[in-house]
Structures are given as structure tokens and as C-alpha cells.
């Protein structure tokens, strides 16, 4: 029973079906339960949360990643799958503590002040959720003071900053300075991204990491998470 439903969750993540109304990539599957309904059903029938996450959600995202690598999947396919995982994680959130599953980490993400471009940042958010992180999106054109306040309040493990313009990317540096001034810089790992940004720039402004694209951003976050594992 649990194997069956896990298998169905996996298949539906690969199909990118959040709920029963989604079409997926195959013809004729709309109307059948999607990841949301299946996750609810799995919880109701007592399947372990860790099993849902590890064997259902994480394993299927690996398949999706391979399909993307093989040029079989496009970004919208990848995002649909990540959204399905994100939706499942929302449902599982209340059960994490009592099931003894340690959350992967909390991430705040924002497009910095003066910059209205948010497609890239939104993609990164969806993919991070798909990877099992709890992501709070602060939006775009976010004032430096608001970012500092959010870091103080939310105490995230990571802060993601995005900018598309060379004229606004300097606000990433300002944000890091402001965090330092408020004694918050060491409480959070900062990862930056966006078209004009480079690894060299990330280093020069004192960020912890640089994500070249959505998938790279997830990989960098994962790498920094394991660095972090000692202090939890």
C-alpha cells in the first residue's frame, strides 16, 4: 500500500501535477489525483513522513533533474515538478517536528532595491521549495532596511539576493553592509544571483555563494547547508 502511493507521488511529481486539475505532460491524466491529494492520502493512511519526503519527493526530483539535463524537460516542466514538491512540503510542514524529520532550512529571498525583475528570483524560489527548503519570498524592489528587518525577525539559514541590472546590483553590497552594521551578517549565509553577477563579484562583496542559474543556486545552497551541518 505505502509503496504504491509513494510510487504514485513520484510519478506525479515527474509529471508536474500539483493537484487533480493539472494536466501533467501526458495526455489524459487530468482528473486523477495529483501530488497534493496523494500526499494527503498518504498521511491519512499512516505512511511515514520521512518516506514521503525521501522516497516520494526527493527521489522524483532527481529524475526530473536528469530529464532536464538530457534536454527532455524544459524550465516550465522543472518548475511544475518543483511546485508539486513545494505543495507537498506545505502539507507535511505541521508533521515534520513530531515525525523527527529535520527541516532542510529556511530561506529568505528578494530582488534588491530599485530592481523590478523577478522572473529569475521566482524560479529560484520554486526550485528551492522543490528541493525541500522553506522559502519566504520578500518580493522585488525590496528596501535594504526591510531585508534587514526580515532577517532579524525570521532568522533564516540563508538569504538569497537577486538583481538583473548593473545599476542595482550594487544594492546587494549595501544590503550585506547593512546586515554587518546590525550584527546580523554572521547569522545567515548569503547567496547572490542575476545576469550581471559573477562569482568574483560575489566574493568581492563578501557573499557566501553565487548561483549561476536556478539549478546551480539549489546546488550551492545544498553545498553550504552541509558546511553548516555541524552547528545545525
Amino acid at each position: 500500500m505505502s509503496e504504491d502511493i509513494i510510487e504514485l507521488i513520484k510519478e506525479n511529481v515527474i509529471q508536474g501535477r500539483v493537484n487533480k486539475d493539472d494536466e501533467g505532460i501526458e495526455v489524459g491524466v487530468a482528473g486523477q489525483p495529483g501530488v497534493t491529494e496523494l500526499t494527503e492520502a498518504a498521511l491519512a493512511s499512516g505512511v511515514k513522513v520521512s518516506e514521503i519526503i525521501n522516497e516520494g519527493l526527493t527521489a522524483s526530483m532527481e529524475v526530473v533533474g536528469q530529464k532536464f539535463e538530457n534536454e527532455e524537460y524544459y524550465i516550465p516542466d522543472m518548475l511544475a515538478s518543483a511546485e508539486a514538491v513545494g505543495a507537498a512540503m506545505e502539507l507535511l510542514k505541521p508533521h515534520l517536528a513530531k515525525s523527527g524529520v529535520k527541516p532542510k532550512g529556511k530561506i529568505l529571498i528578494a530582488t534588491v532595491k530599485g530592481d523590478l525583475h523577478d522572473i529569475g528570483k521566482n524560479i529560484v524560489s520554486i526550485l528551492l521549495r522543490g528541493a525541500g527548503y522553506l522559502v519566504k519570498d520578500l518580493g522585488h524592489d525590496v528596501d535594504t532596511r526591510d531585508i534587514v528587518a526580515a532577517v532579524r525577525e525570521e532568522q533564516p539559514d540563508f538569504l538569497g539576493l537577486s538583481a538583473l541590472l548593473t545599476s542595482t546590483m550594487v544594492n546587494m553590497e549595501d544590503t550585506i553592509k547593512a546586515l554587518k552594521e546590525n550584527g546580523l551578517r554572521d547569522k545567515v549565509k548569503i547567496i547572490i544571483g542575476g545576469a550581471p553577477v559573477s562569482p568574483e563579484y560575489a566574493k568581492s562583496i563578501g557573499a557566501d555563494g553565487y548561483g549561476a542559474d536556478g539549478f546551480h543556486a539549489v546546488a550551492v545552497t545544498e553545498a553550504l547547508s552541509s558546511d553548516n551541518s555541524a552547528d545545525g
Binding site: 500500500m1 505532460i25 501526458e26 486523477q32 492520502a41 493512511s45
Partner: protein, 498 residues
């Protein structure tokens, strides 16, 4: 468990994200001729058939035309047909001809302005881009190219593209058709070199189809003959037209007038000669066997006026064959067009642009079957494995252009636009995912990597990427004939080299 599934979703390995294969789509958006132009060409064509006529060097052909009502001058071997008689014979030819594939998946329904593509020939040489060597083509090349075409989705028909130079003439026909039938399930079309060859090839196709009746019911082969421009039905080719028409196998009768050499230098004058000559073939086939499935055809092109070489990649060739499609539509005959070749000696920019422009003009005009559309270069004398892969990509793009732009509520997407609103994006919309693969041609070869990624992957040129695909396809090439059928063919027909 609250959910019971009717059917399981396919597992990861079973899920296929098939690229759309476009074939048989309606063309006709490009019309180089106005209705008045068509009318003037038609009048000149009928006048030519009535007043000038055609020299017929084949006795059987001349007798058949005379019996069908042609005015024949026996001494000069000249046959003329009144407009009334000509139109009567033309109207006997079917407007729709189906060229069948063995698995039924690749059947080709010629007629109207539906567009299909296929290879063409007959090249004597093979160009190998890795070494820069041009060498004589062999039977193995024919087998390999058939194997390539089997896997290249945008090439819908296999027209036997090369000549096996190592074989004696009497073994050529039987070996060429067997190489095709043994390596691809797509329809096989080909020229023949002997009248005896026609008999053998038809017998072979009957064995593969299962019976003579099964072959007539679903013709898996068709045969090309030709009329010699201007206005000559050759002794040998005339006999062949008669033999093929008698066999009931679909027949192609193209003509190949060359501007300034075997036709007037003008495109309109060339169209008159091409139309007359191909119609002579159509009429002869109907005279022999009324209702014979016959395909009106054009190989019309320009010449190099410096030395009168045949030219395979001129824009005029594209114009002539697009106009030919309009004439075929006017006479309600299925059409065999020529496009997609190049005169380049290597796989360079010229090779790409000449192949693309001529294919595109033919396809947009609604030419039913574009022959030569893949693999040929250097005045159609040379075939190249890698060029089949490159042209497969060109043809995919060309067919997408033929498909045009669908405008309806779903594609206009007003509700979605409203939902997304100012400053939003369409990246995560279900609409995007539902239609992205259908609306946008998915390249099979073109490189769309960033410079960094392209360099990381070896910085390869188009032909190098094509060469990799050729290697992968040929590594898994295998006979597509059932063993019993294959053995039956090999035991009943002599001279087949395996």
C-alpha cells in the same frame, strides 16, 4: 485509501515527450503565380501539346498514345493531342495518390496542397566531411542512408538516393530496392535502369507486401521514369512508363528542363516546357492504363551560364518548383517537386542556405512531395550522411513554417493575459507547459547553448554534431524485414548482395 486509480500513470522510463512530427500539413500560402499567370501558362501548354507535340521514340508508347486518340506522324514519330483529348486524359489521372509505408505510420497522401518530404537521387558519390574526401558510392552507402532516413522523422519517404557503382547494371535495380526495403519501413520510391528491373522490383515488393493484390492495395514502392526535355519520350524511358503503368504501381513522371539550355531562359518559358513534358508522361500512363496513379513532377532548374552545368541550389529552382506546385494544383494532379539541394562542395553556409531556401519555397507553395529535400550536394551528384541530419533539421523548421500560426481563443489566451497582468510572467502558467512543445519547433540539431556551454562541450560545428548523430543511428541499424520475408525475397530473386 481514498483514491482508486483507473489507470496508472506511465513510469518514468515509459513517459515519452515526443517531438511533434509535422507531415501532410496544408501549404499554399506562397503563390508566385497569379490566377492570370496560371491561365496563360495553361493556354501555352495546351497549344504546345496540340501544335508542337512530342517525339516518341518508344514503339509501345507511340502505339498507346495513338490508340488513346493522339494524332501521330509515324515518319517523324511525332504525337500531338488536341486540347480536348489532352484534358480528357489528364482528368483520368487520380487527384490523390497514397504512397504507403510498411507500418502504416508513414503513409503519404499526395494531393491538394499537403506537404511531405523525402530524399532524392541518384548520386554517384559520397562526401565525407571528416576527411574531406569524395568517393564513389557503394551499395553499403544506400543501406546506411536508408537506415538514417528510418530514424530521421522529418524525412517522410525514402527515395533511393545513390548508385551502387560496384555492381553490374543488371543487378542494380534489384539491389537498390532491396537495400531500401530491408532498412526502412518508409515508402520506397526509386528510378530503375532496366525494364527487366521493373519486373524484378515489382515482384520483390509483392513478396514483401504479401501478395500481388496486397501490393496494389497498399503500394509500398513507386517508380520514377522521366520525359526528356524538350518534348522527347525516349525509347527506353517510354517503354518503362508503359511497363510501370501496366504494373499498376504508382508512377512518377518528372521533367527536368534547364533554363537557357533545354527550355527558354525565362522561368515562365521553363514552366511551359516542364508542364508539357510532365503532362506527356501523365497522359501516356493514362493512355496505357486509365486511372493509373501517376505523379506530375518537376526537376526544373537553372544552369550555370558560364559552362551550362546543372544547378541544384538556385533560388530560381525554388521559384520554378513552387510555381510547379501551383500548376499541379490547377490540373488537380499530385505533385513531385525538387528542392533542398546545394551546389556547395562542403557542409558550409552555402550548403545550409541553398537547401533551406529551396525547401522552404516548395513547402510554402504546397508542393505535395519535395524530393531531393535531404542529403544531396554538388549539383546532385554527391550525397553526404551528415547532410541528411542537417537537412532533417531544416525540414523540421520548414514544416513548422508550413503549419503557420494558429489563432483561436486558446492561443490568444486573453484570460491568461488578464490573470498574469502587467509586469507578470508566463513561466509557470499551465498554458505555457501545455502548448510550448506544439507551438515551438524543438530543434534536433541546432546549437542554442551559451558560448561558454558550447565551448565546454567541445565547440563543435553543425556537421560535427550531425556526424555524432549519424554514428549513433548507424550503430543500431538493423534489417526491418521479418526473417521469413527476407529469406523468401533472397531465395526468389537472384543477384541480391547482403
Amino acid at each position: 485509501m481514498p483514491y482508486v486509480l483507473e489507470k496508472r500513470l506511465p513510469g518514468p522510463e515509459e513517459i515519452e515527450y515526443k517531438r511533434m512530427i509535422r507531415k501532410g500539413l496544408e501549404g499554399g500560402s506562397y503563390k508566385p503565380l497569379t490566377p492570370e499567370d496560371i491561365s496563360k501558362i495553361n493556354e501555352t501548354v495546351l497549344r504546345t501539346i496540340e501544335e508542337i507535340g512530342c517525339v516518341v521514340n518508344s514503339d509501345t508508347a507511340l502505339a498507346a498514345l495513338e490508340k488513346a486518340g493522339a494524332t501521330v506522324d509515324k515518319e517523324k514519330r511525332r504525337a500531338r493531342l488536341s486540347t480536348e483529348k489532352a484534358l480528357e486524359l489528364i482528368s483520368q489521372a487520380p487527384s490523390e495518390v497514397t504512397l504507403c509505408s510498411r507500418d502504416q505510420k508513414n503513409d503519404i497522401h499526395l494531393g491538394g496542397s499537403r506537404v511531405y518530404t523525402g530524399t532524392g537521387g541518384t548520386a554517384l558519390y559520397i562526401y565525407e566531411p571528416a576527411t574531406g574526401v569524395k568517393r564513389q558510392a557503394t551499395l553499403d552507402d544506400l543501406k546506411n542512408i536508408a537506415g538514417l532516413v528510418e530514424e530521421l522523422d522529418n524525412i517522410h519517404l525514402f527515395l533511393l538516393p545513390t548508385y551502387p557503382n560496384e555492381l553490374p547494371l543488371e543487378q542494380v535495380d534489384v539491389n537498390r530496392f532491396f537495400a531500401g526495403l530491408d532498412n526502412t519501413t518508409k515508402h520506397i520510391m526509386g528510378g530503375v535502369y532496366t525494364t527487366e528491373g521493373i519486373r524484378q522490383v515489382v515482384r520483390m515488393a509483392e513478396l514483401v507486401a504479401g501478395s500481388p493484390e496486397a501490393l496494389r492495395e497498399r503500394p509500398i514502392i513507386s517508380i520514377i521514369t522521366c520525359v526528356i526535355s524538350p518534348f522527347i519520350i525516349d525509347a527506353k524511358y517510354g517503354d518503362m512508363v508503359v511497363a510501370v503503368a501496366e504494373s499498376g504501381i504508382p508512377l512518377v513522371c518528372p521533367a527536368e528542363p534547364l533554363c537557357g539550355a533545354t527550355s527558354p531562359v525565362t522561368l515562365a518559358g521553363n514552366l511551359v516546357v516542364q508542364t508539357v513534358d510532365s503532362l506527356m508522361g501523365v497522359m501516356l500512363a493514362q493512355a496505357v492504363n486509365p486511372g493509373t496513379p501517376v505523379i506530375f513532377g518537376s526537376v526544373a532548374t537553372s544552369t550555370d551560364l558560364r559552362d551550362y552545368k546543372y544547378i541544384a541550389g538556385s533560388v530560381e529552382m525554388g521559384l520554378l518548383n513552387a510555381a510547379g506546385a501551383q500548376m499541379a494544383q490547377f490540373y488537380k494532379l499530385p505533385f513531385y517537386a525538387t528542392g533542398g539541394m546545394t551546389d556547395s562542395k562542403t557542409l558550409d553556409a552555402q550548403s545550409g542556405y541553398e537547401s533551406a531556401i529551396t525547401n522552404l519555397l516548395c513547402a510554402l507553395s504546397g508542393a505535395n512531395f519535395i524530393h531531393d529535400s535531404a542529403g544531396l550536394m554538388e549539383f546532385a551528384m554527391t550525397a553526404c550522411y551528415e547532410k541528411y541530419v542537417i537537412d532533417n533539421e531544416i525540414l523540421g523548421m520548414v514544416m513548422r513554417a508550413v503549419e503557420g500560426i494558429r489563432v483561436d481563443d486558446e492561443t490568444l489566451a486573453y484570460d491568461l493575459i488578464k490573470e498574469v497582468g502587467p509586469g507578470g510572467n508566463f513561466v509557470t502558467a499551465k498554458h505555457t507547459r501545455r502548448l510550448m512543445r506544439k507551438e515551438h519547433y524543438q530543434p534536433t540539431l541546432s546549437d542554442r547553448n551559451s558560448r561558454e556551454n558550447w565551448e565546454e562541450r567541445g565547440g563543435k560545428s553543425t556537421w560535427e554534431n550531425a556526424a555524432e548523430k549519424v554514428k549513433i543511428i548507424l550503430e543500431s541499424r538493423a534489417s526491418v524485414l521479418p526473417d521469413t520475408v527476407r529469406e523468401r525475397v533472397l531465395s526468389q530473386l537472384k543477384g541480391i548482395s547482403v
